[in-house]
């Protein structure tokens, strides 16, 4: 039975590519891995001969380093600004290395040690006492037992004492289960490792202890600097999202160009021509750009004639920029008044964008 899903996991989305890679993979595989490191690399960076698409853009050596870190005793820590595709990278790596990206601990202020170690089915616990049947393993424990990758999202959103539960798991590669008997220990089977993602600068995040830091190799994921790359990425993701919903639109390439230029300008505080502007506090990530384009495309498809225009994007942009600070509206207004206005004279899409943006209530 095939079930409709809003967003299938990476291993489902790319099942065909993964099996093509596995079939051709002649290189040695580290113990517990579903693919060889080279095949994992091809899965992320693409292989035209095997019909494998590129899924991660902008920093190929980073992918190499990440794969190699997963083979080591160290965990892999992906850090960087919000929306730089850290989670996407971790999902793809987990899917390629161990065939599943579903073992996830989502870090939040409410995460407890139980989410990292194990909990109990209290009905069974009361009925039978502590037993293997009553134990509810965490995704981490599951991953240890089956030799797979566990993903820890937003680790710095957990309080440090909860984060530190990972220290012994990473260094000993085992977890004591004292309730099941004094000798009861779950030991990790080969293939186990942790990919954590963290945001070190956002509001409301916690510090990480140096003991924990030492057990990870850090990789910083930077926003995509090349507008061409970013536009391709945004368009590809849009196509994926629209494909699942069966929506078709036109004119998205030119609009994506406008959108990516706008995002790059606002993100860096400087246009490609070198004009300075005030950066909004809001996160202007590639992921946000995809959201904007997606929403704009839906508007064009369902409420308009299906032709995506600059005006659709302008209306959606408001929701992204006016999130963090009321001043951001003024900053966007200034950007529209000075920079967009000038570009409006040069192309139709920019003109649509300008006219719609000017009528927004931006504070």
């Amino acid at each position: 039975m095939t079930q409709q899903m809003i967003r299938p996991s990476a291993e489902l989305r790319y099942a065909a590519e993964l099996s093509a890679l596995a079939a051709q993979d002649t290189f040695p595989r580290p113990p517990g891995w579903q693919l060889s490191p080279r095949a994992v690399r091809s899965f992320l960076l693409g292989d035209q001969k095997l019909g494998v698409s590129r899924k991660f853009y902008g920093d190929d050596p980073l992918v190499d380093r990440a794969i190699v870190s997963l083979m080591s005793q160290q965990g892999l820590m992906l850090v960087g600004e919000p929306g730089t595709a850290k989670s996407l990278l971790s999902e793809l790596l987990a899917a390629a290395v161990c065939g599943t990206s579903g073992l996830v601990v989502q870090g939040s202020a409410g995460t407890t040690e139980d989410h990292i170690r194990y909990g109990w089915n209290y009905a069974l616990l009361l009925a039978e006492g502590p037993s293997e049947r009553a134990l509810v393993p965490s995704p981490v424990l599951n991953a240890m037992r089956t030799g797979r990758i566990v993903r820890f999202e937003e680790i710095t959103r957990c309080p440090p004492e909860v984060q530190d539960a990972l220290i012994s798991i990473l260094s000993e590669k085992s977890l004591a289960l004292p309730e099941l008997g004094s000798d009861s220990v779950a030991t990790a089977t080969p293939g186990f490792n942790v990919i954590a993602t963290a945001n070190l600068r956002d509001r409301g995040v916690h510090e990480m202890s140096s003991a924990l830091k030492r057990r990870f190799n850090f990789e910083t994921v930077h926003p995509i600097a090349d507008p061409e790359f970013e536009r391709e990425l945004v368009l590809r993701q849009l196509a994926e999202r629209l494909g699942t919903a069966g929506v078709s639109i036109s004119g998205e390439r030119d609009v994506a160009d406008v959108l990516v230029k706008t995002f790059q300008d606002l993100r860096t505080g400087r246009t490609a021509e070198g004009v300075a502007l005030t950066r909004p506090d809001a996160v202007m990530s590639t992921a946000e750009a995809v959201n904007v384009l997606h929403a704009a495309a839906l508007e064009a498809a369902y409420l308009d004639d299906g032709r995506l225009s600059g005006a659709h994007v302008a209306r959606q942009l408001q929701g992204v920029v006016l999130k963090d600070s009321p001043d951001d509206g003024k900053r966007l207004r200034a950007y529209v008044d000075h920079i967009v206005k000038e570009r409006a004279g040069r192309s139709g899409v920019w003109k649509e964008f300008y006219q719609a943006a000017r009528s927004l209530k931006l504070g």
Binding site: P37, R38, R41, L45, D60, P61, D64, R65, I67, V68, S69, M71, S72, Q73, Q74, V79, G80, L200, R201, S210, K213, R214, F216, N217, F218, E219, T220, H222, A225, A276, L277, T278
Partner: protein, 804 residues
């Protein structure tokens, strides 16, 4: 688009028994395979791409006492009309370098030839040929920029469509990684034929993708014609196999028949020396398109070639960790043992993933990056990675035999530096503190540093010490210097060796040129520059000859028609006299004489202020203010200036009809000087302010003059404020409004505290309490927040405009 089929060059021309070896400069793999090849072919002669006028230096390059990195530095006399040529015979000439490191294939070839007793020759155009120098080929200013490299341009290895496409295909980030992956990893293989065939093919592809216009521009054609011609000539001269070593880019062109006669080096017009060279400069050259970056890495690879690269990453990672431990504090925590183990594993696995037999440069750097740094790192400017780059660049400087024919000046200065305790063995940057008053040896070292700076080497840079010009830190006992004996230092000395054999002679020559230049452009306006030069020369310990500068100062002063520049020069002279201990001037009689002459000149020029036009008024008042400062300085430092004579000059000036602003200034001066009475000043002030001038600004000009010269008069003579108060108090409304802007202008030099004080004085006079002046204006919280926000926005705007 039609693409011509690529001609892949063979290695061996059987008809002529000629082996053409394509290489890349500073490539250890090329060097290693070349060694194997020479051992197998046993050639009768070896020909190397390099300027043919360097042949006489080959013996020295191969001397057992020579230790790479070294370079041949070539000097070319600037021709008339060329940059660097000047009328004074200054030896500013084109300087270019031909560097060798231990793993240069060229060096390996020359050494092999010497070891086998077979001839070795260079076959490129002479270093003086126009094609060997580009438009930026002159090194007029010394500094850390490497001069022009005579190594063939290797830019095509890094940029270009072919290399970019290949990098994408191989998953490499740039042309250097491609080169490492394809060639340096084959360092340990025995198959030199296969290796050079592949280098040849690779270079032929690069050449195929290179714009022919570029080759026409950069002198490729004439250089290749010369190489072909010399190869043909030596082919006739020697019997047996010949090995020709050229940059891979040119290899294919060597097989064509020679069409031209070789161009022989001319006897005149150029000179070349063998000098010690540095790893840092080698690295910098790679930025100019020659050789591989981070030569320290390749040097290690070369040292470990016996193991074929095994253990290289371990050696580098542990070595770098040890380096960090020694320098802990500067770069954070030193890496622990598990971190090092992790990094080594990481490097090995990266190499495996990328399909390399052992970790190459980028693998090792990547491994250190992911293992050593625990945290988020910015796109650029990562201190630890910068340190790694610097460490992998290396800081070694080579050695050349004493017989290398270094000019006497270089030997003499090096000897002198060693005696004074300076390190000339490596290119490291060091800091040294000199106790210049109490320790004669330090004093001598300080003089040496000053002299080296003055003659234009980049050896020493003073970061702290007494400063006579700004009259600052004259009591400071120490000088702090940053020192670096880079190859550029020796290059500059070699340039100067034409005119001097010792540092003192070089100093005298450089000073003579500078002085001549000053005289030429001067026309009486360069007294200050000459004084600076004199101070620099005395600090450098120049015994004779410094007097010439003072003579120049004297002439310039006598001819100086401007009071302003004269006062400035005289102030400098008084400061110079005052700082004589710091400068080490023992005999001040000459300075005293010039001060006397300059002072007389000031007194002559002073009355001429009366003839100044309206547009010069501001300058005239400023000169008077400077003059007042000078007189106070002279009094406090007992300079030999007869102040009494000044009174006469001032009296002369006072008798003239002056513009109101100047009159105010002069009268204020006279008052301070005790020549005028307070009453006179007050009367004049009242008269001026009530005056019937058409332009109301003239009424306040007098007050402005007083304040410019001596604003303290406002406080010491209450009559001035009384006068202002009276006039303003009695003015009609319209009159007051006319005066107001000019009053503000006149009082502008006052600082806020003085303005408050003035307001209080006025308040007392009109019967108000000083406390009443400050009115409290209530401001709501909302308004304040809004204002603060405005303030912040303004600050942001200013910051954006670069005005923060």
């Amino acid at each position: 688009m039609d693409i011509a089929p690529l001609e892949i060059p063979a290695l061996h021309d059987q008809d002529r028994d000629l082996w053409v070896v394509p290489i890349r400069h500073h490539s250890p793999a090329c060097a290693a395979h070349l060694e194997r090849m020479i051992a197998e072919i046993e050639p009768a002669a070896i020909l190397v791409e390099g300027p043919c006028d360097f042949d006489p230096l080959i013996e020295m390059v191969c001397d057992p006492r020579t230790r790479a990195p070294i370079a041949v530095v070539a000097l070319k006399d600037a021709e008339k009309g060329e940059a660097g040529h000047d009328a004074h015979g200054a030896t500013r000439r084109a300087v270019s370098y031909f560097p060798f490191c231990a793993h240069s294939p060229e060096l390996i070839a020359l050494q092999a030839a010497q070891g086998r007793g077979i001839p070795a020759r260079f076959i490129d155009l002479p270093s003086t040929a126009r094609e060997m120098l580009d438009e930026t080929g002159d090194l007029a200013e010394p500094g850390d920029t490497p001069g022009r490299s005579l190594l063939g341009d290797e830019h095509p290895f890094d940029v270009g469509d072919y290399v970019t496409a290949l990098a994408r295909e191989l998953g490499c980030r740039d042309g250097n990684e491609v080169w490492d992956q394809l060639f340096e990893t084959r360092l340990g293989s025995e198959d030199w034929q296969g290796f050079f065939a592949d280098v040849g093919r690779y270079c032929a592809c690069i050449r195929g993708a290179t714009d022919p216009a570029r080759m026409a521009r950069d002198g490729t054609w004439p250089r290749e014609a010369q190489m072909r011609a010399l190869v043909a000539q030596y082919r006739n001269e020697f019997t047996g196999p010949i090995i020709v070593i050229v940059g891979g880019f040119h290899a294919g062109a060597m097989f064509a028949a020679a069409t031209d006669q070789p161009i022989a080096p001319t006897a005149r017009g150029g000179k070349s020396y063998l000098i010690r060279y540095g790893m840092r400069q080698l690295d910098a050259l790679s930025g100019y398109g020659a050789g591989l970056p981070l030569p320290g890495y390749y040097d290690r690879l070369w040292q470990m070639r016996g193991q074929g690269g095994d253990g290289l990453s371990r050696d580098i990672i542990t070595g770098f960790a040890a380096h960090l431990r020694n320098a802990t504090g500067e770069h954070g925590e030193a890496p622990s043992f598990p971190v090092m183990v992790n990094a080594i594993e990481q490097a090995e696995r990266l190499a495996m993933l990328r399909g390399r037999p052992f970790p190459t440069r980028d693998d090792v750097i990547d491994a250190i990056r992911s293992s050593f740094i625990k945290g988020e790192i910015p796109v650029a400017d990562v201190p630890l990675l910068a340190e790694l780059r610097s460490w992998l660049t290396g800081h070694a400087i080579g050695e050349v035999p004493p017989s290398a024919g270094s000019p006497p000046l270089v030997e003499a200065v090096r000897e002198q530096a060693r005696k004074l305790g300076f390190s000339v063995e490596d290119g490291d940057r060091r800091s040294r503190e000199l106790d210049i008053y109490r320790k004669p040896r330090h004093r001598a070292a300080s003089r040496f540093c000053h002299a080296m700076t003055l003659i234009g080497t980049s050896f020493a840079n003073r970061t702290a010490g007494p400063d006579f010009r700004n009259d600052a830190a004259l009591d400071r006992l120490h000088e702090i210097w940053t020192l670096c004996w880079s190859p550029q230092v020796e290059a500059r000395l070699i340039e100067l060796s034409e005119v001097a054999d010792t540092l003192d002679e070089a100093l005298a020559a450089v000073l003579a040129w500078k002085l001549a230049a000053l005289e030429e452009e001067g026309q009486g306006r360069n007294a200050r520059a000459a004084i600076d030069l004199f101070a620099a020369a005395t600090r450098a310990g120049l015994k004779g000859g410094a007097g010439a500068m003072l003579t120049l100062v004297e002439t310039q002063i006598v001819e100086d028609p401007e009071l302003a520049s004269l006062v400035a020069a005289l102030t400098d002279l008084v400061l110079l006299r005052r700082g004589r201990d710091a400068l080490g001037i023992t005999d001040i009689s000459v300075i005293d004489r010039i001060i006397g002459a300059a002072w007389r000149r000031v007194l002559i020029l002073l009355p001429e202020l009366a003839d100044y036009g309206e547009d010069q008024l501001r300058g005239a008042i400023a000169s008077l203010a400077d003059l007042r400062g000078l007189i106070e300085l002279a009094r406090s430092s007992q300079a030999p200036m007869d102040i009494a004579l000044f009174d006469d000059a001032l009296a002369l000036l006072n008798q003239r009809m002056l513009m109101p602003g100047l009159a105010g200034a002069v009268l204020a001066f006279s008052l301070i000087d005790g020549q005028a009475s307070m009453d006179l000043l007050e009367d004049r002030l009242r008269g001026e302010m009530r005056g019937g001038y058409v332009d109301p600004s003239d009424r306040l000009a007098f007050l402005g003059g007083i304040i410019a010269i001596a604003r303290e008069l406002l406080w010491v003579t209450p009559a001035i404020i009384d006068a202002i108060n009276d006039v303003v108090g009695h003015a009609e409304q319209a009159d007051f409004l006319a005066l107001l802007p000019h009053l503000r202008l006149a009082l502008m030099p006052l600082d806020p505290r003085e303005i408050d004080r003035l307001a209080e004085e006025v308040a007392i006079r009109i019967g108000a309490q000083p406390g009443d002046l400050a009115a409290l204006v209530a401001i709501s919280e909302a308004e304040m927040t809004a204002n603060l926000a405005l303030d912040r926005d303004l600050a942001t705007l200013l910051e954006q405009d670069g005005m923060a």
